[in-house]
Every structure is written in structure tokens, then in C-alpha cells.
């Protein structure tokens, strides 16, 4: 009874599951991600047909010839799915690769300095964050057009602000620590302080942001393509879903082999990135491991 009571009062007790759970999670996520990247790099090695070619009759159900059947104009759905990996995954990762560093630089500058430029940058960050994400993306892409490069550009324009905000608040926290004051007192240059004292506590966060922006961009690209705003020349998973919806796939059983796999692939890629980011977060900040 006594032990039970004190047990209840001991609010600092260790979590019952291993603190190293994040390693397992990261490994699972990384394995998923690497296999997807492999698939995206060498789709021709696995895909049975050329996804652009009409190889069968339209709307064929799955069989030995076409494992996932054919679409409304007789293209092999499995090949489309495999080649779609390249478009969907690389779009997301590329957006992350551009937007996260951009946001990091903006966050560092607006956090470290307090002049007019950084105030303006901060305003811009806030304004971008308030605008509704998807309606903005749709509006922009309706005007700018539908090439793959344009989609990436639009997603970068709307994705850099969130990392900037986070990095900035991290910089502000670090700036309050005594070692920054000490460094300034002995006359270290701004560049040296940024590189040696601030960057180490920001880089983990920047990496996490890259992964998170990537996962959000995969979803955003799928949404755009689903609305028919994707690049018509390179089909992504979202484009597949767009054509499925457009050809009234619900009225037959075709949704099982057309809609289900494409959505599952999107889910898997987003999930792999989320798992990796979860693990990275804990790897870079040990205080989080208990959570």
C-alpha cells in the first residue's frame, strides 16, 4: 500500500518502455525510405512494362499478365505505380532540400540579428504562415502552370516559413545562454559565434525540418496532382488517383487495385519520413528521448 502510494507520487519515474525505442523507429523508417529511394532510382528494373504504353485492354482486372490490372486506356497499373515513386518521392525530397536550408538561413539571420532586415524577414514568415496553405498552392499553380519544376518552386515558396520560425526560436533560446555572452565578451566575430556556438544546437533541428517538409510536400504534391494540377507528362501517385476518380472507378471493383495501392504508397513514403524525423529529433536532442 505504501509503495503503491509513493509510486503514484513519484512523477519522475522512468517510462516503462526502453529509452532506445527511437533507434528502432528510426531504423524501420530508414529501411522503408531507402527501399523507396531504390525503387525511385531504378524503376525500370522492377516495372514489367513501359507505363506510358497501352499494353492491354482498358479496365482489365488483375491477372498473371497485369498484376494490378490496367487503367482506363489500357496501361499497366503496376508499372505506373512503380514509376510514380520517382515523381512523388523526388518532388517531396527536392522541396525539402531547398526549402529547409532556405528557412534555416532565414531563421538564423532573423534570430541572431535585430536590424530592419530581420524584422522584415520575421514579418514575411508570419504572413506566409497565416495564409491558408492548400488554397494558396492551388491559386499559385493555376496561374504559374503545371510543369514538375514549377510545382517544386511553388511548394518551396509556401514551405520555407515554418522551418524559419522554428529555427529562429531555437536561436533565440541559445542566445540567452551564458556562453554566448562569454564569446561576445572575448571579442568573437558574429560568424564565429554562429558557426561554433549556435549552429551545433540548430543543425539537428534543421535536419528534422528537412525531413518534415519533405513529407508534407509529398502530401501536397499528391493533393495538387489529384486536383488535376500535376505535371501531365510525368505521372505521380496523385495523378493516378486523379485519373481513377475521373473515370468513375467507384462504380466497379477497380478501386481495389487502382485506388488502394497508390494511396498506400503515398502513406508509406510519408510515414517513413515521419518515423525518420521522430528518430532524428531524439538523436539530436537527448532530452526528448524520455518523451
Amino acid at each position: 500500500m505504501i509503495t503503491k502510494m509513493t509510486d503514484r507520487l513519484d512523477t519522475t519515474s522512468k517510462p516503462r518502455l526502453s529509452r532506445n525505442l527511437y533507434r528502432v523507429v528510426g531504423l524501420v523508417g530508414l529501411t522503408m525510405l531507402l527501399s523507396l529511394i531504390l525503387l525511385a532510382t531504378f524503376p525500370q528494373a522492377v516495372a514489367p512494362y513501359d507505363p506510358g504504353e497501352r499494353v492491354g485492354r482498358p479496365f482489365q482486372p488483375p491477372g498473371p499478365e497485369f498484376r494490378l490490372g490496367t487503367n482506363d486506356i489500357g496501361q499497366d497499373l503496376l508499372s505506373e505505380l512503380i514509376w510514380g515513386t520517382r515523381v512523388s518521392l523526388f518532388t517531396g525530397l527536392l522541396v525539402g532540400l531547398v526549402a529547409a536550408p532556405l528557412g534555416t538561413v532565414v531563421g538564423l539571420v532573423s534570430g541572431y540579428r535585430s536590424d530592419v532586415i530581420s524584422v522584415l524577414l520575421l514579418r514575411l514568415v508570419d504572413l506566409t504562415l497565416v495564409l491558408p496553405f492548400l488554397p494558396l498552392v492551388i491559386l499559385l499553380s493555376a496561374y504559374v502552370g503545371q510543369g514538375q519544376g514549377k510545382i517544386i518552386l511553388i511548394l518551396v515558396v509556401v514551405s520555407w516559413a515554418a522551418p524559419a520560425r522554428l529555427i529562429r526560436s531555437q536561436v533565440l533560446t541559445v542566445l540567452n545562454r551564458p556562453f554566448i555572452e562569454a564569446a561576445q565578451a572575448i571579442g568573437s566575430s558574429d560568424w564565429r559565434i554562429l558557426r561554433l556556438h549556435i549552429w551545433p544546437s540548430v543543425r539537428g533541428l534543421a535536419l528534422v525540418q528537412f525531413v518534415l517538409v519533405g513529407s508534407a510536400s509529398i502530401l501536397a504534391e499528391a493533393s495538387l496532382s489529384f486536383l488535376g494540377l500535376g505535371d501531365p507528362s510525368s505521372k505521380s501517385w496523385g495523378t493516378m488517383l486523379y485519373f481513377a476518380q475521373a473515370s468513375g472507378v467507384f462504380l466497379s471493383d477497380a478501386w481495389r487495385w487502382w485506388v488502394l495501392p497508390a494511396g498506400l504508397m503515398i502513406t508509406l513514403s510519408v510515414l517513413s519520413l515521419i518515423l525518420v524525423s521522430y528518430s532524428l529529433e531524439r538523436w539530436s536532442d537527448p532530452r526528448l528521448r524520455a518523451r
Binding site: R8, L9, T11, T12, K14, P15, R16, L17, L21, R123, D126, L127, L129, V130, L131, P132, F133, L134, P135, L136, V137, I138, L139, L140, A142, Y143, V144, S215, L219, A222, S223, F226, L227, G228, L229, L241, A244, Q245, F250, L251, W255, V259, L260, A262, G263, I266, T267, L268, V270, L271, I274, L275, Y278, R291
Partner: protein, 345 residues
């Protein structure tokens, strides 16, 4: 002595209200600037793109217009004037509530009319789903944090991670064949049936059409709410007042619901309002899948038929919605947290 004290008090009060008012004015100015940015974006996009801005302002409708009508519209928009004057003219029309005419839903319908028509349906979906997701997500998040590190916590977190990775519109595409077509439990498409029912039957009919979209939308909001609540609650579970409450012998449920959760709710409110711009987009795709009569499906139609005035109007209304929510939260925050006067988080 008493008069001195009361005088001092009223002075303090005056100072307090003064600073609160100033803060509110600043807030309002900030929101005004954001709105102006959205408006300017609408103004600049058709004019900055290559090609005839007229085609980008009127959309596909231009193909059906005579040369006279086009010349007349050119006059209305002042397209041969310098950009600054065009901008002033544009703002003037906006202030008068003129967002142009829709081509897609033509028959002389203005964009404002179409928006007013569609707004109610989107509002219905978002309001109900947000309420469901916030309640369920907050309870689940609080509970997971309370049982932090247990197998059930890890299971819940895993499930919600997976849910977060699912594209909501795909979830809708999977639920429609199951519930609406194979089992014929629910109707699919539109927000009411034809011919329209009357009275209470009408309400039942509307609810019937809204169930599936609301389920999908709530599920898409749930992971965000859950994650925020769980992490906000984790800051509370180790707090001293929680230990005190337990030491007093209070029931676990009371400590959780009455003490810890109350404090954890505050960050939830702010974070949801900050994320609202990101969350709102989901309704757009889900309405499209369900062919629901709201703003989202309208934007999809507008994209398909290059109905630029309608597209811009939709974007503006979504922005206005986000700003309203933010403003409301600021105001609400003052009530939720007595330490805060006028919402300084």
C-alpha cells in the same frame, strides 16, 4: 486612505485598458496587413504572368465574349492605366464588395453570390469536424501522456502517426465504395438530395450527406490535435501541483481532467489556431471527392474551368476564415488564462 487606494486602483485600471486597447489595435493592424497581402497577391498574379492579363482575369469566359464586351471589361479593370492606379481601382472595387463575375456558374452570377452560397456548407463541415477532432484528440492526447511510456501510449502514438501519413482525400476514396456503394448505407455526392425535403426531413437529409465527409475530415484533424495535446500534457504530468493533488487523495480521474488537462488546454488552443491555415486545406480535397456543395469543390471546379475570379474569391475567403479564427483565439485566450490580458502568449 480609502479614496487614495481607490484612486490608485482606477489609475491602474485606466493604464491597463489603455495598453490592452493599444495591443488590440496592433493585432488588428497585423491582420489588416495580412489581408492586404492576400489581396495584393490576387491583384498581382494575373498581371505578373506572361500573356494577356485580360485572359487571366476573366478566365475561359473570354472565348465567349464579343470584342465589345472585352473592351468594356478592359475599361472596367483599367488595364491600360499604370499599375498603381490599377491597384487603387482594384481596392476600390473590392471595398464595394465587387469580386468580379464567375464564368463557370454564369447566368450573371457574381463571385460574391457564389461564395455566399457555398460558404455555409464548408462552414458546417469544418465546424463539426473541428469540434469532434478537438474533443477526441484532446482526450486521447491527455490520456496517452498520462500513461506515458506504456504500451497503450506507444500504440496510440503509432496509430496516429500512421493516420497522419494517410492522404485524407484517399481515405475518402476508400470509404465511398465501402459505405456508400457496396453497403449503400450513406448517400454520395452533393450536400442534399433532389427534390429537396422540407422541415425536419431536410435536416436529416443534410446530416445524412454530411456524415462521411465529416468522418474523414475529423480523422484528418485528429493527429495534429493529439500530438499537440500529448506534448502539452507531458509538461504537466510531472508538475508539483499534480503531485499535491494526488497527495490530497484526489481520484486519478479528477487530477487528470480537472487539474492537469485544464492547464494543458491553453497551448492546444493557440497551436491549433496557428495551424489553422494548414488544417483548413483538407476540406478542399474532401469536398472534391464527395462532390460536396462547398467552397472546396467550388475551387476545384474553378481550377478545371480556369475561372480565375472565382478562384481568387475562394482564396480570399479562406484567408479571411483563418484570420477570423486567429482573432477569435486571441480574444478567447484572455478569458482562458487569467494571467493574460488581451492575449499575449
Amino acid at each position: 486612505m480609502a479614496s487614495w487606494a481607490s484612486g490608485c486602483d482606477s489609475n491602474a485600471m485606466r493604464f491597463e485598458t489603455g495598453s490592452t486597447r493599444r495591443r488590440w489595435l496592433r493585432r488588428l493592424a497585423e491582420y489588416g496587413v495580412t489581408l492586404l497581402l492576400a489581396v495584393s497577391l490576387n491583384f498581382l498574379l494575373p498581371r505578373a504572368m506572361p500573356g494577356d492579363p485580360m485572359a487571366l482575369i476573366a478566365g475561359e469566359a473570354i472565348q465567349q465574349m464579343g470584342a465589345e464586351r472585352i473592351a468594356e471589361l478592359r475599361q472596367v479593370y483599367g488595364l491600360d492605366l499604370p499599375l498603381g492606379q490599377q491597384y487603387v481601382r482594384y481596392l476600390g472595387r473590392l471595398v464595394r464588395g465587387d469580386l468580379g463575375e464567375s464564368y463557370r456558374f454564369s447566368g450573371g452570377r457574381t463571385v460574391v453570390e457564389v461564395l455566399a452560397d457555398r460558404f455555409v456548407w464548408t462552414f458546417l463541415l469544418v465546424a463539426v469536424s473541428m469540434t469532434i477532432a478537438t474533443t477526441a484528440g484532446a482526450l486521447m492526447g491527455a490520456w496517452a501522456a498520462w500513461r506515458h511510456g506504456s504500451l497503450r501510449d506507444v500504440g496510440l502514438v503509432t496509430f496516429l502517426f500512421a493516420l497522419r501519413s494517410v492522404p485524407p482525400f484517399w481515405l475518402a476514396m476508400v470509404l465511398i465504395p465501402i459505405f456508400a456503394i457496396n453497403w449503400s448505407l450513406l448517400p454520395v455526392g452533393d450536400s442534399y438530395s433532389f427534390p429537396r425535403q422540407t422541415g425536419i426531413r431536410n435536416l436529416i437529409d443534410i446530416a445524412h450527406h454530411a456524415i462521411l465527409p465529416i468522418v474523414v475530415l475529423s480523422l484528418s484533424y485528429l493527429p495534429t490535435v493529439f500530438a499537440i495535446m500529448r506534448s502539452s500534457m507531458l509538461d504537466e504530468v510531472g508538475a508539483n501541483y499534480v503531485r499535491t493533488a494526488r497527495a490530497k487523495g484526489l481520484k486519478e480521474r479528477t487530477v487528470l481532467l480537472r487539474h492537469a488537462m485544464r492547464n494543458a488546454l491553453l497551448p492546444l488552443v493557440t497551436t491549433i489556431s496557428l495551424d489553422f491555415g494548414q488544417l483548413l486545406g483538407g476540406v478542399l480535397l474532401i469536398e472534391t471527392v464527395f462532390n460536396y456543395r462547398g467552397l472546396g469543390a467550388m475551387m476545384f471546379e474553378a481550377v478545371k474551368s480556369r475561372d480565375y475570379p472565382l478562384l481568387q474569391g475562394g482564396f480570399l475567403l479562406f484567408t479571411l476564415g483563418v484570420l477570423t479564427i486567429n482573432l477569435l483565439t486571441d480574444w478567447l485566450y484572455g478569458y482562458l488564462d487569467p494571467r493574460v490580458q488581451g492575449g499575449q502568449a
